[in-house]
């Protein structure tokens, strides 16, 4: 099993006719994802390499039966595009856009919760989701993932998500699903959502979690793990040596004072029984050890 998506998930790409949308949309289709349509206002009736383009999400959903949308639009249009997806009947929205204003994110997240409680948003500013061999929505290179499980991955950082996949695949350890939740201040999906889904998924036997400095999501995840998680969790938190008070690229990756430091997060996770590792390679090795002993 996989979480959130599977081989039957039908996906539309909002922004398919743009450079990035086309590149990643077609790569996702080549991977085997059911990319059934694209949406670009004013370009309905055309196609991108055989994928039909519609004027609105609503039209696309009516014509294709899609349930997921890959939103590839610039920051200033992202909030509206996400809302259009929900209004059009999409229930799983992946937003990779980096640089969306925090107030737009906060408003969009709360509108989704209030008006569309059945909709899940992944991102913004995330690499997307891949269930190896079944479905890839986003910008992850499919060839670094290995189908068959038994590991679930959840990560706040894009490139460290790839690093985690790579560390496991190199050792012949497959993944059920790898979810990049993104490093922005208001993520649509958080660690706990993913841990909960992995805990419930019968094929996932262990979980790798990649955190980073800033916020308190890792600490909250640690509390949840302590109370509910029976599967082994391996964690790595980036930013031990990050200077305080400086933003390091992700809007979320900021530390001020002692709260939100990598050290505090690692201590909280270790206290919850998580195997905390010092770097991605060590985390990969630890996971290999755990999986081989299953």
């Amino acid at each position: 099993m996989s979480i959130f998506v599977d081989e039957n998930t039908k996906v539309i790409v909002q922004g398919l006719t743009g450079g990035q949308g086309r590149f990643h949309g077609l790569r996702n289709r080549d991977y085997g994802t059911l990319v059934v349509g694209g949406v670009t206002p004013g370009k309905g009736g055309t196609d991108v390499d055989g994928i039909p383009v519609f004027n609105s999400v609503k039209e696309a959903v009516e014509a294709t039966g899609a349930s997921a949308s890959f939103v590839v639009v610039p920051p200033k249009f992202a909030a509206d595009a996400i809302m259009e997806a929900a209004e059009g009947g999409i229930t799983f929205i992946v937003s990779i856009t980096e640089g969306i204003p925090a107030h737009d994110e906060a408003r969009t997240y709360n509108r989704l919760v209030e008006e569309f409680p059945g909709v899940r948003l992944l991102g913004p500013n995330c690499p997307g989701i891949i269930s190896p061999g079944k479905c890839n929505i986003g910008i992850t290179s499919g060839d670094i993932a290995l189908p068959g499980g038994p590991v679930g991955i959840v990560s706040r950082s894009g490139t460290l998500t790839y690093q985690a996949l790579h560390e496991l695949s190199q050792q012949g350890i497959g993944q059920t699903t790898c979810v990049g939740i993104g490093g922005d201040p208001v993520p649509g999906t958080n660690f706990i959502d993913c841990l909960e889904a992995f805990q419930a998924d019968s094929e996932t036997k262990a979980v790798m979690m990649i955190g980073e400095i800033g916020g308190s999501e890792e600490e909250r995840a640690a509390e949840w793990i302590k109370a509910h998680m029976t599967k082994p969790v391996v964690a790595y938190v980036a930013g031990v040596t990050a200077p305080p008070g400086r933003k390091m690229g992700h809007a979320g990756a900021i530390i001020s004072g002692s709260k939100g430091t990598a050290q505090a997060k690692m201590e909280a996770l270790a206290a919850a029984g998580v195997h905390v590792c010092q770097n991605p390679t060590e985390a990969g090795e630890k996971m290999v050890e755990i999986v081989r002993a299953l």
Partner: protein, 380 residues
């Protein structure tokens, strides 16, 4: 982006928030002119983006022209925790009956906005929060519905603000919330918010952090950016569109993605080295970006070796490899370069570099191996 106090007050004024009459001054003469205009007594305040100005002698009351001359002269050029004062804010001094605290920021765990209001302002709010948390009235605000006046009125009562201040404070809080949301602030804070003996409420300080992601819809922020004090290395990097932060170590770092870049710093540290910088070349980095990154790092005299850590996703490793060769052809890179290349088109990328490898251009198979090699070279 953090604003200076004077910029914060000017930003507040755009949203109708009452501040003391005042203006900026870069010289003693300008300070005098402002004082004459707003009327004595005045407060002369150092404009630095660091706390503890008052204790460092950066905030002084002046009752006449001689005192303005004295204090302005002393404060200009003053070094406050490494920040040299280049600009003053001179404002009409206020009589203070009461000092309050008010702020809005994002409550990240709950994904809503958080208002904090206290009748015990004027001091470090962190101390109030620790020692007397019930003195702060917290208000969760749904970003969809916002803050209305009726809620603000209940809030000022709950925070135990003086009766005389409540109505004006409620109005001001609604304005401050508008500044926070429409003004795209990460933080909008007033400490202290004062009640004067005459019964008026206004902001005596301003702490504003703007959300850089919203800059595209705020052309007026351009003037704030011009006054940002920056490390010369960071300035050069910004001109080249790179996300760079200068540090004090000897291993120059180039990585793609903020998470991998942070992790690279960590790994260098774990194997006994220290990073000279954080540099994220982002997704989709091409040869030009790579060349620019190497040039920026090369300009740092502390750098003894360079660690290029790339995991191709959108970034294609063959592009990165071409960028390295391109940069080497364009500028003389004085430090040895250690590369770790994985991900999209990694095989092609390594092949491009194969014929050019030497004592100063080295590839290593893993992140840890490359970190050890780079640190070894930095120490050699």
């Amino acid at each position: 982006m953090d604003l200076f106090e004077y910029q914060g007050k000017q930003y507040f004024a755009r949203f109708g928030i009452a501040v003391s009459p005042g203006d900026v001054a870069d010289t003693v003469e300008e300070a005098l002119a402002v004082a004459e205009r707003v009327g004595y007594p005045v407060v002369v305040k150092a404009q630095v983006k660091v706390g503890g100005r008052g204790k460092a002698g950066g905030v002084k009351l002046a009752n006449d022209a001689d005192e303005v001359r004295l204090h302005a002269g002393n404060i200009l050029g003053l070094d406050i925790k490494g920040h040299v004062v280049k600009r003053l804010w001179v404002e009409r001094a206020s009589d203070i009956a009461k000092e309050y605290y008010a702020s809005f920021t994002l409550d990240r765990p709950n994904k809503v906005h958080l208002g904090m209001l206290s009748a015990e302002g004027g001091v470090e709010i962190e101390h109030v929060a620790e020692e007397n948390p019930e003195a702060i009235a917290f208000l969760s605000i749904d970003p969809v519905t916002g803050l209305d006046l009726a809620t603000a009125r209940r809030w000022v009562a709950e925070a135990n603000l003086d009766e005389a201040a409540r109505s004006q404070a409620a109005d001001l809080l609604v304005q401050l919330y508008a500044c926070y949301t429409e003004g795209d602030c990460d933080l909008a804070e007033i400490n202290p918010l004062i009640l004067t003996p005459e019964g008026t409420v206004h902001a005596l300080d301003a702490k504003v952090t703007l959300d850089d992601n919203a800059a595209y819809r705020h052309p007026e922020w351009e003037e704030y950016r011009a006054t940002e004090t920056e490390d010369p290395r960071e300035k050069l990097a910004k001109e080249k569109g790179l996300n760079y932060i200068g540090l004090d170590g000897t291993v120059g770092i180039i990585a793609n993605g903020a998470g991998l870049a942070m992790s690279t710093l960590d790994v260098v540290n774990q194997v006994g080295g220290s990073a000279a910088n954080f540099l994220d070349i982002g997704g989709g980095a091409n040869a030009d970006v790579m060349a620019a990154a190497l040039e920026v790092i090369n300009s740092d005299p502390k750098v003894k070796s360079i660690f290029v850590n790339i995991f191709g996703g959108i970034t294609r490793v063959d592009e990165v490899a071409r960028g390295v060769l391109d940069a080497l052809a364009r500028v003389e890179i004085t430090s040895p370069i250690v590369l770790r290349l994985d991900g999209t088109n990694a095989v092609e990328g390594r092949a491009i570099l194969a014929d050019h490898l030497s004592d100063t251009l080295i590839t290593e198979p893993t992140m840890l191996d490359a970190a050890r090699r780079a640190v070894g070279l930095a120490h050699a």
